[in-house]
């Protein structure tokens, strides 16, 4: 084992040796057996590092002069370096086991990244001592001993080992640890004696020095003081109360700065300063506490409303007679077929005649099903069944009397309604029996005679009829007015309109023709021209066909307004439609048009409408182009006199019937001292109904029950239970009310306003509305 001592000078021939050369010399000497080296340094870098022979052959180095930076860097275990003065920066840099004793001061960066070994400083340290140090579990942790004080940023990112700062006569006795120590420290500990300005609280923590620590500290203090030849200070330094122990926080202890939670802040700082309720507690008492996204009750955004019977069904609304069609189908669904059939009598005296045969059934045109091109619910089935309905029981008479002039559909309708309301209504008519045009001018092809007769008979049972034998004159009228509480003009339009053209005397008015036809007296030639191609014209054409005409031409000045059954039947009878045609004159050859064209004809029939025969009316009753003027209550300019049906304006049978019913209501209102009010219900929006439930491939209804099933019951709840079933919140329940009545109830505490009920309802009853605004 080599033990010789070698002296190496950092100067050769008066010149400073390069660090590389000095290092080579040191390594060479050690390899050649030197175990004690004395180096007279002159600023050389890294002296004393990487010296290794074996575990059993320690190497001692004494450094004289002034060593350069990183003395003892990468030092090995077994190397002991005594520096007999101060060292430059980074002493013990990356030290892996060397013991470095500095008898003077250290400068910046001491022990940076030191992993093992020990550095003892007899004086003070500069900045950034003991930074980035490590502890490797395979070896003892590194140690730094400083008798004096340390500079700024001590122990930054320290990750292991022990630093001991004795604070003895240091550079800054006010603060022995310097500015901002321990930032980023994650491991190791620091014993410190003397005052300091604190350390990074987020990284390190003070810990009481336990007996074992104290024993370690005092024992090693004694040893290390001896190494710097200052054992005499030992007693001065071992007052346990002078010492503190700082250690790195564990990851679990690094909770960050403790600060108030926002809830605490709100209570203790925010509301404390601003007052109860915070920022706007003085301005509102609204609850502003947090809620979820899908609340119920008052916090729902939408509320479903069960709008049963709020709106009128399109069928009822389209029916000029105002028959509640959907209500009748509901009765059918309920198994009350007779009630469904009879219900019509409250609205019309002619359920079978009109609804079943003669009406173009505007209710069916309005049927919601049509929107999806599904066939409308067939009312004629229900209508025709009405032929057997018995006249309802009549109420007692009030003593009020109404004279109805005219026994056609309008007159019968109003007399029927007035009698139902308990007033007396007497019909005055030139005809022997009631019926007017219905009986005299409707071709038998359109309605079986027995049906019409049955219904007229039923009406006659209810309505007293005065058969006038002469045309009414103004005196008769004045008398009637005098004798009655109200007079209704239901005289129809009996006076054919004529056109003042040459040859007009050869023209047959349509009404005359039709009346003759019904009476079996009509005759036609082979070639017929009908001027006016409306529905009456079509009826004429059909009759002409039946009576043997070979060529039937309907002409009009514009596109014909005819439609429906009448049009269809006329076309089936071979009628041709021609427009625009302006008639020049009628000759024996036929109709000469202004264009010069001649339409050959044996028979020319004029069907451009009729006007009422109002010669008997006093001057006080205003007319407009031949028709009687009325207000919305069917009152003429004489408030005691009403006018309905074709007297007012040309219309369908159902219009005349509807006029009669509505005017009767007005008259009843006035008789009973009520102000007549016109409050037609709003018709339901088509988009509210759901038609997907119904069979789209149906081309014909087999019976009334099928009609009823396929009816969407627009606007009136059909009690299907879908809403109850679909509601995801079980918020909807069915409550039975008195009798057969019921309601669907939505529990606000359960309902979230999803709108499902409104979406699924076939009848469009549920409506989703905005909840009442808050705040």
């Amino acid at each position: 084992m080599a033990t010789k001592k070698v002296c190496i000078s950092g100067v050769e021939d008066g010149l400073r040796l390069e660090s590389r050369i000095l290092e080579e010399i040191i390594q060479k000497n050690v390899r050649e057996g030197a175990r004690k080296l004395e180096i007279d340094a002159l600023g050389q870098h890294g002296i004393g590092g990487r010296l290794w022979i074996s575990k059993d052959e320690p190497i001692e180095i004494d450094v004289l002069g002034s060593p350069g930076q990183r003395l003892g860097s990468k030092g090995f275990p077994g190397t002991t370096i005594n520096v007999h003065g101060s060292v430059s920066d980074d002493v013990g840099w990356l030290n892996a086991g060397a013991e470095i004793i500095v008898h003077g001061d250290g400068t910046n960066g001491a022990c940076n990244a030191m992993a093992q070994g020990k550095v003892v400083i007899s004086g003070n340290l500069g900045a950034r001592g003991m930074t980035m140090t490590k502890t490797n579990p395979r070896f003892d942790p590194p140690e730094l001993w400083v008798l004096g004080t340390v500079g700024d940023y001590f122990a930054e990112f320290m990750a292991g080992g022990t630093a001991v700062v004795c604070g003895y006569k240091g550079q800054n006795t006010e603060n022995v640890l310097g500015y901002r120590p321990c930032v980023g420290m994650v491991g190791g500990r620091i014993f410190v004696r003397g005052p300091h300005d604190g350390f990074s609280q987020s990284d390190a923590i003070l810990e009481p020095i336990n007996d074992a620590d104290w024993a370690w500290l005092t024992e090693n203090l004694k040893i290390n003081l001896a190494k710097i030849n200052k054992s005499y200070l030992y007693e001065k330094l071992i007052d346990r109360t002078d010492w503190e122990l700082i250690r790195a926080k564990t990851p679990f202890e690094k909770t960050g700065k403790v600060r108030l939670s926002m809830t605490e802040f709100r209570a203790k700082v925010w509301d404390e300063e601003l007052g109860r309720g915070g920022l706007i507690g003085d301005l509102t008492d609204l609850d502003r506490s947090p809620i979820g996204l899908v609340p119920s009750g008052i916090l729902r955004r939408y509320v479903p409303v069960w709008e049963n019977s709020k709106y009128e069904a399109p069928c009822q609304s389209s029916c000029p007679s105002g028959i509640p069609v959907q209500e009748r189908w509901q009765l059918v669904r309920d198994g009350l077929v007779d009630e469904a059939v009879d219900l019509a009598l409250a609205y019309t005296p002619f359920p079978a005649t009109v609804c079943g045969y003669l009406c173009p059934n505007l209710c069916m045109d309005g049927c919601t099903r049509g929107l999806k091109k599904m066939i409308p619910v067939d009312i004629t089935k229900l209508g025709r069944a009405g032929v057997n309905s018995k006249a309802p029981k009549l109420p007692a008479l009030s003593g009020k009397k109404v004279a109805v002039i005219g026994g056609g559909p309008a007159g019968i309708s109003i007399a029927w309604q007035i009698r139902m309301k308990g007033h007396e209504a007497v019909v005055y008519d030139m005809a022997k029996t009631l019926g007017g045009k219905i009986a005299s001018a409707i071709p038998s092809s359109r309605i079986p005679k027995e049906v019409l007769d049955a219904e007229l008979k039923r009406a006659a049972e209810v309505i007293p009829h005065v058969h006038l034998h002469k045309k009414m004159d103004s005196d008769d009228f004045a008398e009637l007015k005098q004798a009655n509480d109200a007079v209704v003009l239901a005289i129809g339009a009996q006076k054919p309109r004529m056109i003042p053209i040459p040859g007009h005397e050869m023209i047959t008015p349509a009404l005359t023709f039709l009346q003759n036809s019904v009476a079996g007296k009509a005759k036609v030639g082979k070639k017929v021209v009908i001027i006016g191609a409306g529905n009456v014209g079509c009826d004429v054409a059909t009759e002409c066909g039946r009576l043997g005409a070979k060529s039937i031409t309907l002409i009009d000045i514009q596109e014909p307004a005819s439609f429906g059954k009448e049009r269809k039947e006329a076309e089936e009878a071979g009628a041709k439609f021609k427009w625009p045609c302006f008639t020049q004159e009628v000759t024996k050859k036929g109709v000469l048009l202004k264009s010069g064209e001649l339409l050959e004809a044996d028979t020319v029939i004029l069907s451009i409408g009729d006007t009422p025969d109002v010669e008997f009316l006093p001057e006080g009753i205003a007319l407009d182009r031949g028709h009687v003027v009325v207000n919305e209550n069917y009152q003429t300019t004489d408030p005691k006199v009403y006018a309905i049906g074709d007297t007012v304006r040309p219309g369908l049978l159902t219009h005349a019937i509807g006029h009669g019913r509505k005017a009767a209501e007005v008259i009843d209102d006035i008789f009973t001292g009520r102000r007549p009010e016109v409050h037609p219900k709003e018709v339901i929006d088509y988009s509210r109904m759901t038609l997907e439930y119904f069979d789209p491939r149906l081309t014909e209804f087999s019976d009334m029950n099928q009609c009823a099933t396929e009816c969407s019951s627009c606007g009136s709840c059909r009690d299907c239970g879908l809403c109850e079933t679909v509601c995801p919140q079980m918020a909807i329940t069915r409550n039975s009310l008195e009798g057969k009545k019921f309601e669907m109830y939505c529990d606000p505490d359960k309902c979230i306003g999803c709108g499902f009920c409104a979406n699924v309802c076939p009848c469009g009853i549920w409506n989703l509305v905005d909840n009442t605004p808050l705040g």
């Binding site: 700082v269 920022l279 997907e692």
Partner: protein
């Protein structure tokens, strides 16, 4: 809509809508939560009829039709109920069965959102995802050249100054000669820009104020918030928190009589007064708070009766010229607090910004200039104003800063930049870029709503219904049913979170520059961009 009705030019199908609802029949439990929560009622329970043709094999029997009914979520196609993509349906769906998808190819609706001749109005910001600020890189990284700082280890002073900053000599001279010197505030450089009480819900507004108070009181960060134009709650005016508040006055002057009444009772002065002349989102346009939104609370704070419309005209009615306006308004507002409070105007970035700035430099009472760029957000504006009006902030700010440099006043008159900062989430990077281009501070609004309250709005035209009071998050609604979805405390917590995060990120950017003791205002040598024209225009490095 019934399928067999005649179509109109504006009849749309789902495919025509920008946001299309994707719904999974198998996953849906039909719980009704999605239709309950949808802010625009874009979805409903659909009743569907399914046809099955039953054909027996071998045709042994006559084939038949069977119809059955099923239910599912259906999207409405009426533009009035167009899905806005907010995805609240998805948020409440227990089974993740529904969500809106954006279809970039479906642009039809764009041509039909002017029903009744009313052009589209909306909230949000310019519907463009481009961001010049995002392209700017910080490329002066000091490793060995300057003291390389560590964002986690070193101490930083990030604060900035608002107010007329005089040199020590000037300041002494000013004091000696006038007995007064301009007020200056040391504040955090990220300011919450003006969003009014009214534009924001009470819970949102309180949450923001609470968060700001917390940052100041608990964390020592001198963060400031502008009130926007809509007054200021009386309690806040009379509290110690007022010093964190920048009171804004704009052309509607709402709530200012209440502020004036409160002056004698104020415990502290406000941080500053911001005179709003313009807004980046809708330059040259004003605002109108519709009468139905003026409820009891808004009315009380704005000092108006309930139920009347509140117009903020495009211009101040007593503004006749820059000279007039600047001199008169700044003087008046300064005088209100005895010249102790900095007063600065806020304008929308425009080619006339320099003229305003030049004027301010000559006004000793002017405490700064806030400039709001084209990417700024708003609660309500015409779509055309938002998308096509205004000036990008970067070059406008840069021009102003350079003008100050020319006269040597760059350290004297602070510029506050705003408009699109953090629009794609890069708050610190965008803010740092503007600071290095010359801003003393930046203002953010939309980002605050997004980060602080979960605003769903995006530049893909998502949500953006702030203007109609149906904000699904309760941020911009005055309806308690909506704004109670927002907990002020949680908003405050988020404000604190994003401020702390910003603080770290901004340090991560400026530490490598070697700056720790002051903000790198105007340190444009640190900036680079891969767009040569932009580099030239901004006077920063072109790097590829």
């Amino acid at each position: 809509m019934l399928s067999d009705r005649p179509i109109t030019p504006s009849t749309l199908g789902v495919k025509d809508l920008p946001w299309q609802i994707k719904w999974d029949k198998d996953l849906c439990t039909q719980c009704g939560r999605c239709t309950s929560v949808c802010p625009v009622s874009a979805i409903e329970l659909g009743v569907f009829r399914k046809r099955t043709i039953v054909t027996p094999a071998g045709l042994r029997k006559k084939p038949s039709n069977e119809h059955s009914i099923f239910y599912g979520i259906r999207q409405k196609t009426d533009p009035a109920y167009g899905c806005i993509g907010c995805s609240m349906c998805n948020m409440v769906c227990p089974n993740n069965a529904i969500q809106p998808n954006r279809d970039e190819g479906s642009t039809t609706m764009k041509f039909h959102n002017d029903r009744g001749g009313q052009p589209r109005t909306r909230g949000g910001r310019r519907n463009s995802e481009e961001s010049l600020l995002d392209q700017i890189k910080f490329m002066r990284i000091s490793m060995l050249t300057d003291p390389a700082l560590d964002a986690g280890r070193h101490e930083f002073s990030l604060n900035t100054l608002i107010g007329r900053i005089q040199s020590p000599e000037e300041s002494l001279k000013c004091m000696a000669e006038n007995g007064w010197k301009p007020p200056v505030r040391e504040i955090y450089p990220l300011i919450i820009g003006g969003m009014s009480f009214g534009a924001l819900s009470p819970n949102m507004w309180e949450g923001l104020q609470m968060g700001v108070a917390y940052l100041n009181e608990e964390l020592g960060m001198p963060v400031r918030i502008s009130t926007g134009e809509g007054g200021c709650p009386p309690r806040l005016l009379r509290s110690k928190f007022l010093k964190y508040v920048i009171l804004q006055i704009a052309s509607g002057y709402f709530g200012w009589d209440e502020i004036i009444h409160a002056i004698p009772e104020m415990k502290v002065d406000p941080c500053a007064i911001e005179i709003k002349y313009g807004q980046g989102a809708k330059p040259g346009d004003g605002g109108l708070l519709m009468w139905h939104k003026v409820n009891k609370l808004i009315a009380a704070i704005r000092g108006v009766p309930r139920g009347i419309s509140l117009p903020s005209p495009p211009t101040h009615q007593t503004q006749y010229s820059i000279e007039e306006s600047v001199a008169k308004m700044i003087q008046s507002m300064s005088m209100a607090w005895g010249f102790r409070v900095p007063v600065y105007p806020k304008i929308s970035a425009s080619s006339t910004s320099l003229a305003v700035l030049n004027n301010l430099t000559r006004n000793p009472y002017a405490a700064g200039l806030a400039i709001d760029g084209e990417d700024g957000g708003t609660g309500a504006a015409y779509n055309v104003s938002m998308n096509h009006m205004g000036h990008p902030i970067a070059s406008n700010l840069r021009d102003c800063y350079n003008a100050l440099v020319t006269t040597g006043q760059q350290n004297e008159l602070p510029l506050i930049a705003g408009g699109g900062i953090g629009k794609s989430g890069n708050l610190a990077a965008n803010a740092a870029a503007l600071i290095m281009l010359g801003a003393s501070a930046v203002q953010v609004g939309k980002y605050v709503m997004q980060a602080g309250a979960g605003c769903l709005g995006s530049e893909k035209d998502r949500c953006n219904v702030c203007n109609i009071g149906i904000c699904p998050k309760g941020i911009t609604s005055q309806d308690p049913r909506l704004y109670r979805r927002l907990d002020p405390e949680k908003v405050a917590e988020r404000v604190v979170d994003f401020y702390l995060s910003f603080d770290t990120e901004i340090k991560k950017i400026i530490a490598p520059l070697g700056r720790s003791s002051s903000l790198p205002i105007g340190m444009s040598d640190a900036l680079g961009i891969s767009d040569r024209d932009a580099a030239e225009r901004l006077g920063i490095k072109y790097v590829v």
